[in-house]
Symmetry: none
Subunit: 243 residues, 2 copies
Amino acid sequence: MSIPRLLVVDDDPEMRSMMTQLLRQNSFIALPASSEREIRAHLSNGRIDLILLDVMLGDENGIDICARLRREQDVPIILVSALSADHQRMAGYEVGADDYIAKPFNPQLMLARVRAVMQRARRSSSLAYRRRTRTFRFDGWVFDGKRDDLHSPEGYLVALSQRETALLKVLLANPHIPLTRDEIVTALDVTGDSDKSEAQGRAIDMLVGRLRSKIETNPKDPQMLRTERGVGYIFAADISVEE
Amino acid sequence: MSIPRLLVVDDDPEMRSMMTQLLRQNSFIALPASSEREIRAHLSNGRIDLILLDVMLGDENGIDICARLRREQDVPIILVSALSADHQRMAGYEVGADDYIAKPFNPQLMLARVRAVMQRARRSSSLAYRRRTRTFRFDGWVFDGKRDDLHSPEGYLVALSQRETALLKVLLANPHIPLTRDEIVTALDVTGDSDKSEAQGRAIDMLVGRLRSKIETNPKDPQMLRTERGVGYIFAADISVEE
DNA sequence: CACTTCTGTTACAGCGTGTTACGTTGACAT
DNA sequence: ATGTCAACGTAACACGCTGTAACAGAAGTG
């Protein structure tokens, strides 16, 4: 990971040097600029990881500059300004700024916010949507995590419905912990429609029953998917996770 | 672009419903949660685009939860808290939070910050696709984004209709994300005629069925082009993109 | 024009899932 | 023990969602 290169844009020389020094003392490369022309020169010249852009720049306006840059570039931009009213902040976010820091600011907090935005940019771009698929094993069963079925200890393939799969995932994510029905319902709720959650009735019990009938040797006397009377359900098997 | 799915984590029911309602009124899917267990259940169960995480959660602590999640997941996290001192904010950023919003907050400003973080995440992660996408590979298949056909794992050339190609592109551009029929229709609708979208009936289902019959080994049990009952369709194959 | 190919509509069957009803079990008080 | 009551299991049912065959235009091609 190379040293981050930041652009510090402010028309006040004092402020500019304060910020560049602060950044340099904290292992950043800080390049000063004071106009849109200079910003564009830097952008076309070399890599810029983030721009700290003052809103009031004499005759120019940081908000407008930000809007224009956004139309062409993905470079992270943090607006800095003495204008700290909510509507002014929102104007900044509206034109695509990643953050809006009010002056005067706590130097350490500013560094933290700069790091946060850069980390988000880096994290997302490096591993784009890598899906986390883990394989679970419990009591001879093998659950792939990305298919709606599982392998029985005897080698048969047992098909699960999507909802059964979802339930199994929730249970596997919380091994040996009793889960209340409400918790399971909210976890399975795809829509976020809270009204629905209350009307669910005994749906979870049915779901559990159906899953039991598929994976328990003796569904009448469940060993893995146990009932915690008055509480909910608990997945009580030794689970090993791979990858 | 599919509807963002947010997790709202707060132990105060009033606060939680205020936030979920606010988000829902602004075209987000807001899923309520109140414990780390519920968060993990949701994360293992479905896509979550961003977590709004309260810092003080009864016996649990949002900072610690955030730190733990960060070690495993890339999901964007915004901390929300009544603790607004600088050192408390910095503690949040230190554990990898993307933003830190102090309570009480201006609802519109909160929305703006949520959008900012999500846009940053999306912008970066979609970089791969923004570049003139050339060639996609998935499960042995090769799709040359500019032709209306694709190469099967066995080397045969399978012809696709225009509309099938368009559907495939939409799916490839949104890997592992369930797309509603409306979303697919609007994405396929080049004219922008919104009336048409409603009159589409089951066209998407037919289209999906026909594409399945061409690219799924066993169209009766689709592995790549899966159905999310009550939601829509999702492309669930590992995709690699070249150039 | 005939012919082919693509695409949307309709109808129907099958399946997944929630609800209801009823029987069983377990906890607790008497 | 025995009764009581709430919690739980599950069979039966109802309903909505989805897959798909069959058909009908639409659009291209010669």
